[in-house]
Subunit: 297 residues, 2 copies
């Protein structure tokens, strides 16, 4: 199966599961559940859940086991976007061409929808419904990995440093690396590590997948920085050049566009090297790394 078909099929699979797992709009409180669903179904590409499924497959696991955690990861990603877009943070009115949560539902509901999605993620992974398929120890390890990568030492920490660096002229490469590794990289690493844990990986495979996730996560964010400069507003679904306008700490801003492209390529190579111990069962992980660097949105 070619990558495009694979991504489309997995995206449909994840969307169907998210629809099953998320609280219904018909349940109280309606406004909250509507807001949670609005942002989850606002056109995300499901990169993180698909990486989790692909990692589970790479280590020889049954990907069905990883579906709840994959959906949980997308809920966490979505909560982070809702809170990032708030007036007190990036103050964005649009995301992927759609009005952001706080523009549609107001700030209070947007904050609470984010809170509820983050909480729902941990509720989902720990749901006793999945006890037969998946041992408690593996699910507990997945919760710990995801919470570590999403919290103050991970994604939230990266967001804080990103915000505090905005508009400063003296940001150097280590700071940009910190921001990228934490704000975006951490959840991508957690996605593949969780997939490997749920697939029953041994220590060697787990370490390889982790190394892949770190490199692919960094490549993803550098590619994002480059897209912000080279992509059109239509392609990326937000104002092109908005990072520069805001004085955001990005790779191109600190080391220049050409060097940033080289770094993205180097990270992709590193991701490939990490997968050397695997055969064709890791081909989707390889192709996703390529796609991450070459994507147009």
């Amino acid at each position: 199966m070619d990558l495009k078909t694979y991504l489309k099929e997995q995206c449909i699979r994840v969307d169907a599961a998210l629809d099953r797992f998320l609280p219904k709009e018909s349940e109280l409180p309606h406004s909250l559940h509507k807001a949670m669903r609005y942002s989850v179904f606002a056109g995300g590409k499901r990169v993180r859940p698909i990486l989790m499924l692909a990692a589970c497959q790479a280590v020889g696991g049954d990907t069905e086991r990883a579906i709840p955690a994959a959906c949980a990861m997308e809920m966490i990603h979505t909560y982070s976007l809702i809170h990032d877009d708030l007036p007190a943070m990036d103050d964005d009115d649009f995301r992927r061409g759609n009005p952001t949560s706080h523009k549609v539902f107001g700030e209070a509901i947007a904050i609470l929808a984010g809170d509820a999605l983050l909480t729902e993620a941990f509720k989902l992974i720990s749901d006793p419904r999945f006890a037969v398929d998946c041992p408690a120890a593996a699910r507990l390890a997945v919760i710990h990995e995801i919470a570590t990568c999403a919290g103050s030492y991970g994604m939230v920490g990266g967001q804080v440093v990103d915000m505090e660096s905005e508009g400063k002229s003296d940001i150097d490469l280590p700071v940009v690396q910190y921001i990228h590794a934490h704000k975006t990289g951490a959840l991508i690493k957690a996605s593949v590590v969780a997939g490997a844990l749920l697939g029953g990986a041994d220590a060697e495979k787990l370490a390889a997948v982790k190394r892949y996730g770190e490199a692919a996560g960094l490549a993803f964010q550098i590619a994002d920085d480059i897209l912000d400069i080279e992509g059109t507003t239509e392609e990326i679904g937000k104002d092109a050049g908005s990072d520069e306008a805001r004085g955001k700490a990005t790779y191109p801003a600190v080391i220049g566009l050409a060097a940033a492209k080289e770094e993205a390529q180097a990270m992709m190579d590193e991701a490939f090297r990490a997968l050397e111990i695997f055969g064709p069962e890791a081909d989707y992980l390889r192709e996703i790394a390529l796609y991450i660097v070459k994507r147009k949105n």
Copy 2:
């Protein structure tokens, strides 16, 4: 040991554990970790963690096992207060006599400190450090119980309905009951259920503790409504009469002060009845129920 001494000792124990478990201010990002600690150590009475420890003791468990989850519960309670106080929500400048998080650190850091505390809670319960003392299945069940009670079907749901009811003249008792049972009651119920689960309770004891938690949780919130009317600003650490000024949905507003007092008493009686299967090992749970209704702050 009398209740006052017990509460003080357990409070010191929980505070020491929180200090051990929370990220240090010296760790990056400093501002975030400072904000997380500021709100956690802003004078909370640790009612929920102490209830968890008391429930663990009531079912015959080793309370040391419940310490991480007890701290996690306090982190979740603290996150909810930080977000509730935000300008987009209740817009409170003071809490327990101290400036609220967004007044000290700004809105963005306050939102992120709340997010990080919620995430840290699940990281803590799933921490592999505690694997020896506490089986994975029990910790997973605790995560599910807490996430269920904290999320859209629990605390966050209650906050949404509370907000949407503010200032409306046609709020009836079922709506106030929904708000109280969800916004405050859910976390109190989760605290005692988690304590019982970690203490290795059988189904009968678990059900009894759950019934106690539901009744005590409702009593706690009705007592809070009454305090807002009868307490002084000094006693309750916020403006007395603020619920009425805001048109909040409360028991006294809907059924009158006298009937609200009767209802608080009835809930306390119900909490006592739920504990009938226990001997003196549940005495602290009994005394805390009494304290909840009679407290002055």
